[in-house]
């Protein structure tokens, strides 16, 4: 018996729509088994993961707060992946955006700086993220160096740079020697949408980003070029599209969005710069991008779903002592199933039983 792939005459739109759902279903089945192996009641665990966070307003807000950076980063990454270039260093661009954006609140701390501070911070974060992402893009375009490896290496560099800044020059003098900057002033903080809640202006910015990228992909020439370069590079060359320019553009946009997400996260939910403030948003966003089928609206839904698993994972840890690493396992397995189900869009699976008389020497 043998599994054989058969190319479909054309891509299946039905499967394209339901493949993420199949993937989520398969992941949940796998997780049920994993919970049972860990000796936890799978039904209670799944409830803690997927239902409990939806049942109170605090958790719902928290899901939106966690989804904000995920969606912003993933929407940018989807442009790269659509163009078939691989920015996997979004985590580094996220961190650099956070560091660069924190410069103003640190130097204006305690002064009577006006309301220009926050907008200026967001600009700093975006520009820094974009510039940081342009390093691997330029290395790729100018020298042909693999953007996969260079963008990832820069994550470690960004992490160490952040660590240096908060332990060195920017350490809060009144912080009891903890590696953190001083708490940002109110003018340097992303305003809350509901007073006393958790939801902040970043969620609105994320929605605007989704809308902008959707328009760009669907309604502009650049968006068209990005899709053609990825889907049919030969056709793009005949069309005279400049693929190098598109690499630079998609990297700059994705880096800029990651940087913006970084400074919003620091100036919003966190409130100060400290090492380890990101639970790996830049990496989880890669999963979000694929689960959302590289489509802005899909990414919005996928981002909310993965945010749910973050919150669910925390609740399951508190309520049932399920280790936090289970969330990472969950996310990894989910990405596998998403990719496997995507294969169904282009191929049909067939089981072939070789007839016993013919010796199948070709295999």
């Amino acid at each position: 018996m043998q599994l054989v792939l058969e190319k479909r005459a054309e891509r299946s739109n039905t499967i394209a729509l339901i493949s993420p759902l199949i993937a989520i279903g398969l992941t949940i089945v796998t997780m049920t088994i994993l919970f049972a192996i860990l000796g936890k009641n799978p039904i209670l665990a799944l409830h803690a993961y997927f239902i409990a966070p939806l049942s109170d307003s605090y958790s719902l807000q928290e899901i939106a707060v966690k989804a904000t950076p995920l969606v912003m980063i993933a929407v940018g990454l989807s442009l790269c992946y659509l163009a078939n270039v691989w920015n996997i260093g979004a985590e580094g661009q996220f961190l650099i955006g956070a560091v660069a954006g924190s410069w103003l609140p640190v130097v204006t701390h305690g002064t009577d700086a006006g309301y220009w501070v926050l907008p200026a911070m967001l600009v700093c974060g975006t520009v820094a993220g974009a510039l940081y992402a342009l390093i691997p893009a330029i290395c790729k375009v100018k020298f042909g160096a693999s953007e996969i490896l260079t963008s990832l290496m820069l994550v470690y560099v960004a992490d160490l740079f952040l660590d240096y800044m908060v332990r060195g020059p920017w350490r809060d003098p009144n912080g009891f020697n903890f590696p953190t900057t001083a708490e940002f002033d109110p003018v340097a903080t992303v305003p809350l949408l509901v007073s006393g809640g958790r939801l902040h202006l970043g969620a609105i910015i994320a929605l605007l980003v989704v809308a902008a990228v959707a328009v760009m992909l669907g309604r502009t020439i650049k968006g068209f070029e990005i899709r053609v370069v990825g889907a049919a590079p030969r056709a793009a060359r005949f069309g005279g599209f400049n693929s190098n320019q598109l690499i630079l553009l998609t990297f700059a946009i994705s880096g800029g969005l990651a940087g913006l997400a970084g400074i919003i996260e620091v100036a919003g939910p966190v409130g100060h710069l400290q090492p380890g403030f990101s639970p790996g948003y830049g990496f989880t966003a890669i999963i979000v991008a694929f689960l959302g089928r590289l489509n802005p609206v899909g990414i919005l839904i996928a981002g909310l779903f993965l945010a749910l698993t973050f919150i669910g994972g925390e609740q399951a840890q508190i309520a049932m002592k399920i280790p936090l690493d289970v969330t990472k396992v969950f996310q990894g397995i989910l990405l596998f199933y998403v990719l496997a189900c995507d294969s169904l869009i282009l191929y049909r699976f067939r089981l072939i039983f070789p007839s016993p008389k013919v010796s199948s020497g070709a295999v």
Binding site: C139, K142, T150, G332, I333, L335
Partner: protein
């Protein structure tokens, strides 16, 4: 002299996991498969390798556990990319994410435990030769094994028919298939070899380098191993030079930190990663004439029938 000897010994130790992981990935890539999950397979090898050694009390059992863990991880990758024709880059990333999560889960029980690290070779007389003795005849077994692996891979790739067929599958899978070679099966074995090596390389860290397990202890070594394969232009001999150069950079930054030159430690710690970027740029730039990469590297192959 004693300091110099210590530096060389520590460079060899720091280079070995890179060399083992990279020689496995080199074979995988020579067969035309780009497995970016080296980091994930390595960290699983570290967790399972330490677990095996801690439970059994034997470093060899630990190393075998690491190899098995790496191979199993690579089989998931093979199923996805060879069986289901999924994009290799995305699958490799998924493998790394999964490996980091799973290793944290598996390793949680052993954090804080210690084991007796792998013993070093001792040949009376030879090992006692001043300076050269310790370096040539006083290493742990993994270091000799890593060099044996490189020689073995070189002999296999360039001196056997099977090696020639493997390289053919990596350079032109359509032709190799047309000649009747089982491209997917060849690639599966190549991926498994890469997984076994990555698992062993990961296991080296808690079994010989530091005698305990910390989550995320591979710290990007899997990615550096991937870069080393590019650095080596997919040739085993150059891999040795590359791995030892990188080991030297790692150790150099540790020693400079210890000297206290006033350079912030984070800048020195960033050195291996920055060096990787710079090396990739220089190597890729020097190669503008034509690529030495296997021609079919990273492309999906679905046999026609």
């Amino acid at each position: 002299m004693a300091l110099f000897e210590a530096i060389i010994l520590s460079v060899l130790a720091a280079s070995t996991p890179l060399l083992i992981a990279a020689i496995g990935e080199l074979v995988t890539e020579r067969a035309g498969v780009l497995n970016l999950g080296v980091e994930g397979m390595m960290i699983m090898g570290a967790a399972c390798g330490f677990g095996g050694a801690w439970l059994s009390g034997s470093v060899i059992v630990g190393a075998l556990c690491g190899i098995v863990a790496g191979t199993l991880m690579s089989l998931i990758f093979a199923l996805m990319t060879l069986g289901l024709a999924v994009n290799q880059v995305a699958t490799g990333l998924a493998l790394t994410i999964l490996g980091i999560g799973l290793s944290g889960l598996i390793g949680a029980g052993f954090v804080g435990e210690r084991i007796t690290p792998a013993p070093h070779l001792y040949i009376p007389g030879l090992t006692d030769i001043p300076f050269a003795g310790r370096i040539l005849f006083g290493e742990d077994g993994f270091i000799y094994l890593s060099l044996a692996l490189v020689i073995g891979v070189w002999l296999f790739l360039y001196r056997t028919q099977a090696g020639l067929i493997l390289r053919a599958a990596g350079d032109n899978h359509v032709s190799a298939h047309a000649l009747g070679y089982p491209v997917l099966r060849i690639r599966m074995f190549a991926v498994m070899f890469g997984g076994a090596c990555a698992g062993l390389a990961g296991a080296y860290l808690p079994l010989a380098y530091t005698p305990f397990f910390i989550p995320g202890m591979t710290a990007g070594r899997g990615w550096i191993a991937l870069a080393l394969v590019v650095f080596a232009s997919w040739r085993p001999g150059r891999l040795v030079i590359g791995a030892y150069l990188f080991g030297a950079v790692t150790i150099l930054q540790l020693h400079t930190q210890a000297l206290g030159l006033g350079i912030p430690s984070q800048f020195m710690s960033a050195l291996p990663y920055l060096a990787t970027v710079i090396v990739l740029v220089l190597i890729s730039r020097a190669r503008t004439g034509g690529s030495t990469a296997p021609a079919a590297l990273g492309t999906v192959f679905v046999p026609d029938r």
